[in-house]
Symmetry: C2
DNA sequence: CGTGTGATTGAGATGGGTCAACCTCAGTGG
DNA sequence: CCACTGAGGTTGACCCATCTCAATCACACG
């Protein structure tokens, strides 16, 4: 694979520019030197197959990972074997922060399909953070986004009805695809219904019924994992501020 | 109150040693110089009264905060005004990470009772992190613990029954009191039933019933906010691995 | 053309939400 | 000293969203 190192580096750099690492290294107008230094420490790993794991619960933290191709899920498993999906990670998104606290991973990261990743070894990271001004701040920002996502997730599990959760999930996924440059209204779900259910704190049948209902309402069109959002507006209003949406309707009629 | 500055600083340092900042600055055998430097940037603020807010949603991030006396809650409020409590913060625990991502706070931090805090101004923090080797790593560790707590919370909201949630909550609170050097089996709840409900993703009546039921089962004794854990063992087995506990019982009898 | 895995659908059971009454107690004022 | 008041907490009755259990479907794969 490393048949041509120069070519490889160039390709890597191009990739970094369009993955979440670009938010980690580029924004403050990073120089070419620093960029090279960063590129030099980023490892690639052999491709992963579906259901292969990047790390398991209890593994010592060795690196931060970025999905380069393919998607991942991070899963927490409690004492009685129940799984809770903590997050899904599309190409360009970060994984591995769960071990920051203890140095041991508390989740599993599992490929949802064939995948490739970039890996930033932990010890190298410390050096580079010190060497490149602003990188530490940037990294905090990336971590912060991850924290924010967890908190949105919390809010969703704490207060929302099944149907709202499903709408929020699809809407969020659509936005993430959009920001990756993929079509936002037609894509294929990288994860199973089971995974969705365990992410949303629901049971698979409820997810299935929710999809069917959204389809009956003309909001989406699903067939297996293939999804088309036929009424993005409506999906959005179901997702953000469900009662707002209702209020909007009634207000605009009465006012 | 700041009648004697020298005395004040000494007191502050003593306080830092026993609050979560000690995990942030002391562990790698930090020198006296660095400790002084850290002490110098830590602000105190005037005492806060019950229901006063440290920051509000949308406020720019200015500092990290540590509860010094009294407890806090951090609350997310969604589009239709529903509140989800993201976390409770006992003395020595950190607040303010929620703004790392965007630089704007996405939660409110509100004092549950009379409280005092220490404050680490953000810009000073950056300097000190660079100046004190190992502090950055330590800070990542503290952040990691906060992430871990959010993920436990997620797991709880996603998969657990009301009664398990309540047991987990009380058990976790008890552990935190223990690690603060307070009695772990008898304490007063810093938050209302309402707050507990909104933290657990339940309604207040369910929390109340849950308490009553735990009391009927002889696990706790509650009167208002005063709580005694009469059977810590049983509480723990309800909290961690509910079905394990059941399995244990039946196994130990049959095997 | 079976066989298995994932998804959908239906029917029935139930945990916990909703609504409403009531209790407890601290604070206040007569 | 007692009655009133209001906020927080408890309890009960009812109901519904979601879970459970089970049958069926869809489709990929050997």
């Amino acid at each position: 694979m490393p048949n041509n190192v120069v070519f490889d580096l160039a390709k890597l750099r191009r990739n970094c520019a369009q993955c979440s690492l670009h938010q980690l290294c580029l924004p403050a107008g990073i120089g070419q030197d620093d960029l090279d230094r960063l590129d030099a420490i980023v490892h690639r790993r052999r491709p992963l197959a579906r259901s292969e794991r990047l790390y398991r619960i209890g593994d010592p933290m060795e690196a931060l990972y970025v999905a380069r191709e393919g998607s991942f899920k991070t899963v927490a498993i409690n004492s009685d074997g129940e799984e809770q999906i903590i997050g899904f990670h599309l190409p360009g998104e970060l994984m591995g922060l769960d071990a920051l606290g203890t140095g041991l991973h508390r989740c599993e990261a599992e490929a949802l399909g064939p995948a490739q990743i970039c890996e930033v070894p932990l010890e190298a990271l410390g050096d580079v953070i010190h060497a490149i001004p602003g990188l530490g701040t940037q990294m905090l920002r990336v971590i912060g986004r991850s924290v924010a996502r967890d908190q949105d997730h919390l809010e969703m599990l704490g207060r929302r009805q099944a149907q709202e959760r499903i709408a929020m999930f699809l809407h969020g996924l659509s936005e993430r695809f959009r920001s990756l440059g993929h079509p936002a209204t037609e894509f294929s779900l990288p994860m199973s219904r089971e995974d969705i259910a365990r992410f949303l704190g629901l049971v698979i049948e409820t997810v299935s019924r929710g999809f069917t209902r959204l389809q009956d309402e003309g909001v989406i069109k699903v067939r297996g994992r293939q999804l088309r959002i036929t009424d993005p507006q409506q999906l959005e209003s179901l997702a953000i501020g469900p009662s707002d949406a209702l209020r909007d309707h009634s207000c605009s009629r009465s006012a």
